[in-house]
């Protein structure tokens, strides 16, 4: 593919064909627990998108500028986790300081995100697939938007489900998992279009 087009393709792929949640099933716990309400889903979606886009860039820098030159690539797991945790903490402090409304909407989700495996997943995929700086950014951004899209769709569906009569055992996480599976199958329809691995 044309080199300058590739980042755009990655963005598109990360949102649709390689949606991190629906094809890799990463970031499931917060997806299941927060998708009950549309409002909180939007909050978490925005927070995840922001953190994924920024940490992929930060981790790209740490990986390529520190770990690779020192031949310490195998340390990436622990280093990525530390970077994500510290970054999220600082972002939380800033949000709390500058905007009360944003803090009420996002702030309390940020600690949830620190342990969201999708965030770590994005940084690790970026290494495996040997993305450039700009590609990593679009991949992070796209994965975030993709996750946002998935949780938004799920929240919408669950809003409707409130009126549905479900078998007792399926209520809550059960039906959410079943629907996630169906959504994943629907998204597979996109998968012929582009593939990034």
């Amino acid at each position: 593919m044309n080199g300058s087009l590739y980042p755009v393709a990655i963005l598109f792929a990360a949102i649709f064909t390689n949606n991190i949640l629906l094809t890799n099933y990463l970031g499931m716990c917060s997806f299941l627990s927060v998708s009950r309400e549309l409002k909180t889903s939007v909050g978490l979606g925005v927070a995840v998108t922001f953190v994924m886009a920024t940490t992929s860039v930060l981790n790209w820098l740490v990986y390529n500028k520190i770990l690779v030159p020192l031949e310490l690539e195998y340390l990436r797991f622990i280093v990525f986790i530390i970077v994500i945790a510290a970054f999220v903490q600082i972002v939380e402090m800033v949000i709390e300081r500058v905007s009360e409304t944003l803090y009420a909407a996002l702030g309390i989700f940020l600690p949830l995100i620190t342990v969201n495996c999708a965030i770590l997943g994005v940084s690790l995929f970026m290494v495996i697939r040997e993305y450039s700086f700009i590609e990593s950014f679009t991949f992070g951004l796209g994965s975030g938007i993709g996750w946002f899209l998935a949780i938004l769709a799920m929240a919408g569906i669950r809003q409707k489900l409130k009126k549905a009569r479900l078998p007792k055992g399926l209520e809550g996480a059960g039906i959410t998992l079943v629907i996630t599976g169906m959504m994943a199958m629907a998204f597979m329809g996109f998968s012929g279009m582009i593939n990034i691995g």
């Binding site: 530390i82 510290a86 600082i90 402090m93 803090y103």
Partner: protein, 367 residues
Amino acid sequence: MLPALITSVGAITGISAFLAVLMVIADATIANYGEVKITINDEKEFVVKGGKPLLGTLMEQEIFIPSACGGRGSCGLCKVKVEKGAGQYLPTELPWISEEEKAENVRLSCQLKVKEDLSIRIPDELFNVKEFQATVAKIRDLTHDIKEVTFDLNEPSEISIRAGQFVQLRVPEYELTDEPVYRAYSAASVPSDKRHVELEIRYVPNGICTTFVHKYLKEGDPVVFNGPYGEFFLRDTEREIICIAGGSGMAPIKSILLDMAEKGSNRRTRYFFGARSKRDLFLLDEMKELEERMPNFRFIPALSAPEPEDDWDGEIGLITDVVAKHMESGDNTEAYLCGSPGMIDACVKVLTDKGVPEELIYYDKFG
């Protein structure tokens, strides 16, 4: 091998140290809210360092708000009215706050961070709540499963408690718990004895606190508790009094009775105590003595399942039936109940059937 190890350790340390420095700087700049003023009930003022949750900030000023979950936002106990400076509700508070409480600006103090000058309102009693360091002065068996534990207060050396209130005993880490936990116990001692607190603790198999008290706690051991808490205390009226208790529910009732005797009360009072068999009865001598000190007081123990060897000629049957049998009408009566939730619910029903208004039935459920 060794150089590789050194570089990896060095790199991790370097990166972590850099991030740690960054965090410290962020903490000192972004998260630094400087000094803020907290005004309580329009009378007391404290200047504190901002940035931490209200619950902990108040605790540092030795004002203890009841909390059972240790500030995780999962018990909903730590409510405080915040009249000024609180900002919006956080999503973590909303599940605990009703519409009426919202209208009154009730907040969860463990979730609310102190960022600007605050004006809050708490019940006056909470000013009284303190953390106490004490020594176990005496442990005595009241029955096969209830122990009476007496504390000598060290720091502070005196407690102001209303008869019927409870304290929260701190259980340190031990075999059954890897973090300190707190459990509520009603004081059984007379409030005028400000230097001691006496508890009656019933053993619960595998219970964290009761196992600790029954199997590990010894005379001379140091203990920590905080309190006093609770709305379960004798109301100052002229009404007749019905007390009902089972098991360790004896504790607050005993305290109330001792207090009444000391103050020379002559309100008509009947105390129904429910037990299975004779081995579950205790403090019979103390109750007899109280009957002598207060001519209008009667202690009525009832056994639900007396053993043949008990040789019992007192009341037999469920405590609800015994109460129903002795009570004529609930007019001009108020009631104080203490024990298991099941017993309390059943007794509330009997009392309301007899005409005691529900708002005059006070209880502590030992659930």
